[in-house]
């Protein structure tokens, strides 16, 4: 992250404030990217499997997954809160009010997006490549790595959609993270806090940083997949 950019948006913040801001931006990225990586590891193979396999109830599964793309973050936050709370089933892990809890909540939020979008991509690819792959002797499951790699450019878009949702949401992280200064305070929870303090310019500046980060990441991914797609056909 370019510090010049930050200070531009930070309206000439003092050094500790700038360090604080960078810490918040860093935590936000770490939480969201970790959740995204987990969602990719879980969601891409799952989406691919649903995309190529045929089983009874498959349509129902697809409808449910598509619907889960719209999971309200606060509901996910609440469920994760109750699960991770000391009085909840996973309370012994002591994860409530930690970044790990936020990762869990965001992963749950974006897995359905990754599954649904990769399912569509892989299903189309399977239609195009399926006979060739089966001719080579690959069973459905064995074809999954090939299909994921063949769909890499479209799947990158699915992951970007997941990143967008996770980085933009505040409803779940503020509940399970607790918005603890320096520990679980992310960009979106800071925006919420500064808004409630009535410091609207600072909240707006943070919003600007968030939007810029999202645009930069999307532009970067778009450029990479464009160049890649041109080279791979």
């Amino acid at each position: 992250m370019d510090e010049a950019v930050v200070s531009t948006f930070g309206f000439g913040l003092s050094d500790p404030a700038l360090a604080n801001l960078l810490q918040i931006v860093g935590l936000s990225l770490r939480v969201t990217l970790t959740a995204l990586a987990l969602a990719a590891v879980i969601g891409l193979p799952l989406g691919a499997l649903i995309g190529i396999s045929r089983f009874p109830g498959r349509k129902a599964v697809i409808i449910v997954v598509n619907a889960l793309m719209g999971l309200p973050p606060v509901v996910v936050g609440l469920v994760v809160y109750l699960t991770l709370s000391r009085s909840g089933p996973l309370g012994a892990l002591g994860l409530l009010f930690t970044p790990a809890a936020m990762v869990v909540a965001q992963t749950i939020l974006i897995v359905p997006i990754v599954v649904a979008l990769s399912r569509q991509t892989i299903e189309d690819l399977w239609g195009e490549l399926g006979e060739h792959l089966r001719s080579l002797g690959l069973t459905d499951v064995a074809a999954v790595p090939t299909l994921l790699w063949e769909g890499r450019f479209a799947l990158a878009t699915a992951l970007l959609a997941g990143f967008g949702r996770a980085s933009a949401e505040v409803g779940s992280v503020i509940i399970v993270g607790g918005n603890i200064a320096g520990f679980t305070r992310t960009m979106t929870t800071t925006i919420t806090l500064e808004t409630s303090k009535g410091d609207l310019p600072l909240a707006l500046a943070l919003g600007g940083i968030l939007i810029c980060l999202t645009i930069a990441l999307n532009a970067g991914a778009f450029a990479i997949s464009r160049v890649g797609a041109r080279h791979a056909g």
């Binding site: 990586a37 970044p99 303090k197």
Partner: protein, 282 residues
């Protein structure tokens, strides 16, 4: 080569996921930190930003503050998700004690509530000292009033004041009474946008920047007194509670160093909180 690239790509994803989880967990020195469930007013007023660095520098114990409404903060304690609760609603705190979720409640400090209102002052209460009369005037004029409506300490205090003023809220309730179910800052933002009256704690008000046409209408009434108390969550109920560190925090807060630090916190030369740990009945 792309074969290798693909393997690296997948391995990288997995590593990122696992590594991320690991760092996410180890990011804080969990053994020397406690979780304090407190209220939005202590956070939004900036008090914790002033107190905690002093405490941590002295004891090495990091304090993680989860700022919620008083009711929610007490519930967080009831679930065992905090080591300390630090709130301002004496009756609710005594209920918490009675249920055995804590063994001792100690008074820490007080500040006061103020009635905030628009410059136009439709209820004609600006500058008066009698909060009961002022609330009566607001009802009579049906002047817009924003209520927290979130079971917070401020909300409970507001409800008690309506009772003191002899207003039956259930009967008087109408378009003018707007319950928003949010924190102090959100309530002030709403009041600012609607030019409504709102009951706020002085600390949050002093630290609040988006005032618009709002100003203090009524202050100084003894009934606006706002007492804060602190409790260690009962380790007999929740064995994981860091009772030792939590007790160190409570002892510091109610001891001479903490009390002085509280008194030292000022915004624009004005003291926000008044330490009173030495008044056992507070």
């Amino acid at each position: 080569m792309p074969q290798i690239f693909r393997r690296t790509f997948i391995a990288g994803l997995a590593t990122l996921a696992l590594g991320g989880m690991a760092t996410a967990q180890t990011a804080a020195p969990t053994d020397t930190s406690i979780v304090v469930a407190s209220t939005t007013s202590t956070q939004d007023s900036g008090l914790f930003d002033h107190l905690l660095p002093i405490f941590t520098a002295k004891t090495g114990i990091a304090v993680k503050v989860v700022a919620q409404g008083t009711g929610q903060a007490l519930d967080t304690g009831r679930r065992g998700d905090a080591d300390v609760v630090f709130v301002h609603a004496k009756a609710a705190e005594e209920k918490f004690l009675g249920e055995g979720f804590s063994k001792v409640r100690k008074p820490v400090m007080y500040n006061d509530f103020v009635l905030i209102g628009p410059k136009a002052d439709p209820a004609g209460v600006a500058g008066t000292k009698d909060i009961a009369a002022a609330l009566g005037a607001i009802v009579a004029k049906k002047a817009p009033f924003v209520s927290r409506g979130d079971r917070s300490g401020t909300h409970m205090a507001e409800l008690a004041l309506w009772k003191t003023a002899g207003v039956d809220l259930e009967k008087a309730r109408g378009e003018w009474y707007r319950e928003i179910g949010q924190g102090m800052g959100a309530a002030l933002n709403t009041a600012s946008a609607m030019n409504a009256y709102v009951l706020a704690d002085r600390g949050t008000w002093l630290n609040f920047k988006n005032r618009g046409d709002l100003r203090i209408s009524v202050e100084g009434d003894k009934r606006l007194f706002n007492q804060y108390g602190v409790m260690v969550v009962n380790p007999d109920k929740f064995p994981h509670v860091k009772a030792k560190e939590a007790q160190i925090f409570v002892d510091w807060l109610t001891g001479p160093d903490g009390q002085k630090a509280i008194a030292d916190y000022k915004i624009g030369g004005e003291q926000l909180f008044f330490p009173n740990a030495d008044q056992p009945g507070a």
